[in-house]
């Protein structure tokens, strides 16, 4: 029961992240929504699913997977953000400041 509720909360975060991907105005803001909510969302979703059959072998795999996602997801977002800025994907109209372009 607890597992089901945790999985549900996780899936709601996943959904909000995907909604953010759709609603945000430019690629950098989309990345923000995408990275954060898929990280926590998948963490909760995996924990909730693991609680369905609680077994040592499953927990160890799920923990490894969570650690891997928490470590690599920000790196891949960062690599994409850097690439997007390098090839000059335009930022949204609301943008007030860009120190990175100034320093280059």
């Amino acid at each position: 029961m607890i597992g089901a509720i945790i999985a549900l909360i996780g899936s709601i975060f996943l959904l909000l992240g995907a909604l953010g991907l759709l609603r945000m105005p430019d690629v950098y803001n989309r990345m923000q929504a995408g990275t954060k909510s898929t990280t926590l969302g998948s963490m909760l979703f995996l924990i909730g699913a693991a609680l369905y059959i609680s077994k040592g072998q499953i927990w160890s795999r799920v923990i490894l997977l969570i650690l891997f996602i928490v470590f690599t997801n920000p790196i891949s977002s960062h690599a994409l953000a850097r690439a997007a800025h390098k090839i000059k994907i335009p930022m949204a109209e609301e943008t007030v400041k860009d120190d990175l372009t100034e320093d280059e």
Binding site: M1, L14, A18, G41, G48, I58
Partner: protein, 86 residues
């Protein structure tokens, strides 16, 4: 009761997958599509684990690990391609 909530969670996760897919189709730039794809793979990994546990085929957990690994490397490859680093 718990089963219903689990099913609901699975359906919502699939809905999230669908929304990210819409962003991938819409673009507009190539980076947008890859950002959407990146989110989609993370959601898909979660769904693989969810299904393998729900259906009692825990042997497929290894598949999810490999998929997470390959998708990370894929995103790095594409990011490096964008910035002329290949």
């Amino acid at each position: 009761m718990a089963n219903t909530i689990y099913n609901l969670a699975g359906i919502i996760a699939l809905l999230a997958l669908l929304l990210a897919f819409v962003r991938m189709l819409k673009g507009p730039s190539a980076v947008d599509r890859i950002v959407a794809l990146d989110s989609m793979t993370i959601i898909a990994v979660s769904v693989i684990v969810f299904l393998s546990l729900r259906l009692g085929r825990i042997i497929y957990l290894d598949v999810a690990l490999v998929y997470a690994l390959i998708s990370f490397i894929g995103v790095i490859v594409i990011a490096r391609y964008f910035e002329r680093g290949l």
